[in-house]
Symmetry: C2
Amino acid sequence: MILTVTPNPALDITYQVDHLKRGVSFRVTPLAEAGGKGLNVARVLAALGNEVSATGPLGGANGLRVRELLEKTAVVPKFIASQVPTRQTINVVDDSDATIFNEAGLPQTEELWERLSHVILAARAKVVTICGSFPPHTAPGTLTKLLAAARSAGSNTVVDTSGQALVAAAQAGADLLKPNEVELAEATGENALQAGATRLLGLGAKAVVCSRGAAGLSAFTPSLQVNVPPGVRLHGNPTGAGDSLVASLAASLAKTGEIPTSKPELTSWLNRASALAAATVAAPTAGAFDQALYQKLLEE
Amino acid sequence: MILTVTPNPALDITYQVDHLKRGVSFRVTPLAEAGGKGLNVARVLAALGNEVSATGPLGGANGLRVRELLEKTAVVPKFIASQVPTRQTINVVDDSDATIFNEAGLPQTEELWERLSHVILAARAKVVTICGSFPPHTAPGTLTKLLAAARSAGSNTVVDTSGQALVAAAQAGADLLKPNEVELAEATGENALQAGATRLLGLGAKAVVCSRGAAGLSAFTPSLQVNVPPGVRLHGNPTGAGDSLVASLAASLAKTGEIPTSKPELTSWLNRASALAAATVAAPTAGAFDQALYQKLLEE
C-alpha cells in the first residue's frame, strides 16, 4: 500500500472561460475537485491500479467536499479531522493558459502534526509520499518528524516540496526527491542541475529526480545519472504533470522496494514516469490522465 | 424600514494581486464579504444610518459565512434558509483593474420564492429594493410576484436588474428602475437613452434612473428629465458604485414616500446618489464608501 500525505489539501475549483482578460467580469460554473499535490498523486495512483490511502488535515465545508469527492475514487481515506477550514484553489482555464489563485491555507496545531505522524506510523505503507506545501507558520522540523515516522514504519519515502523543506527532506534521508529545475536551484543555491542534485545526495537523499519541462527528466543517485526526453511534445494543461511523475515513481518504488542500482532499471522508471506525465498533460484536469495515450507511450 | 431583497446572494472573495497575468500562479489570501448586489445595498443603507433589513435565500457553508459577516453590521437579517448552497464570487483586484468570476448560482425551488413573497409581505417596509440576478432556471414571473407582494404591503419598490427581468419590473409598475446604459439598451432594444427610458415608463415604471459611468446620471419620469455629472472624476474600484446609487435612491424614496414631481427635488436625489457612488469608488470594497468624501461631496 502507498500512503500519500498532503499537509495542506485544497478544494480545487476550476472556472473555464473563453479568454481571460483583466478588468472583465466572467460568468462561470464551478467544477470542484480534491486538490493539493498529494491528493492528485493519490488519484493517479488509484487510477493506475495501486492500493493507495490518503491522509492530511481536512476541515470545514471545503474539507467535507474534498472527502466527498474522493469517495468516488478507490483512494482509501485516512484523513485527520481539523478545526481549521480547508483552503480553496481557483484555477482559471482559458483557450491557452491556466491562471491559478492559490490560497496559502491556515496554520494547523502542533497536535495535528503529532496525529499525522501516528497515522503514518500505523499505516506501515510500502511507500509514503509527502507532497506540496505546508500551511503558513508550520514549525520547522515538522517534515523531518513525518519522515522519521515513515522510516520507523519501514516505509520508503518520496518527497515533492520546495525551499528549505526540500533541504530538510534530504537531510532526513528521504529515498526520492522530485524538485523541478527551478526548485532545485532555489533550494540548493546551485544553478547547475548536477551540482544541485549532488548537494541533496550529499545531505542524505537516496535519489533525486528533477523534472525539466520540455527538456525531460534527469535522475541522480550516488552511483548513476540518467536523462530521458519527455514522452511526447506537451500540449494541454500542465497542472498535475509533476504529481503524475511522483505517482509513477512511488508506484515503481513500491514494486521494487529500493532505488534502482542499474542504469536500465532507472531509465525504465523515468520512461514510465515521463509517459504518465505526458498522458496527464493531455487530460483536462490535474489528478487525471489519458489512459490510452499512457498505454501507447509505454509500448513505445 | 427598507427591505433589501437579494434573490441570488454570494460570498464575495477578494484576492489582491500585484498585476494579474494569464498563465501565472498567484499566492493569495482570501478576504470575504457578504455579496450579491442587494447585500451591498443593505450594508450601504445601514452605514448611511437607515433602518434596513435584508432577505433572500442562504444555504451551505457560504450562506453561513454571509450571515456571520452581516452580523457585524446594523443590517437586520430576515434571510430564508435554503437547501441550495450559496454561490461564491471571486474578485481579483490588482494595481489597476478588477477581474470578476461570477458563479451563476444554483436554482431555488418554487416554494422558496413563495416564502420570500411572504417575508416581503410581512415586512411592510417603506421601500423594498430587489437587486441583482435571479438564479438560473427561475420561473418567469417570479420578480412580478415579489413586486406584487411589495405592493400589497404598501411598499415602494426600487429594482436593479437587467434583461427580460427589467422589462417585467416595468410592467409590474416598479417605482424606480436603475439600469446602466448598456442594460437599458439591451432590455428595450432602444439605443437612444431617452427612447429606452420612455419605453420602460410606458410599460408602467414610475421613474428610470440610468447610470452612465463618466457621463453621470440621467433620470426620467413621465413629466421630468434630469441629468447630473458624476460627483468627482472616478478613480478606484467601480464595483459597488451602482449598488450605492440604488441605496441612495432607496433612502430618498423611503424619506419622501414618492417619486419627485419637481425638477429641483429629482436633481437633489441624483446629486446625493452621485456623491455616494463617487465615495464608493474611492473605497476598496463594494458595499463600503468613503464617509468623509461623501460628506464633502454632499456639501459641494
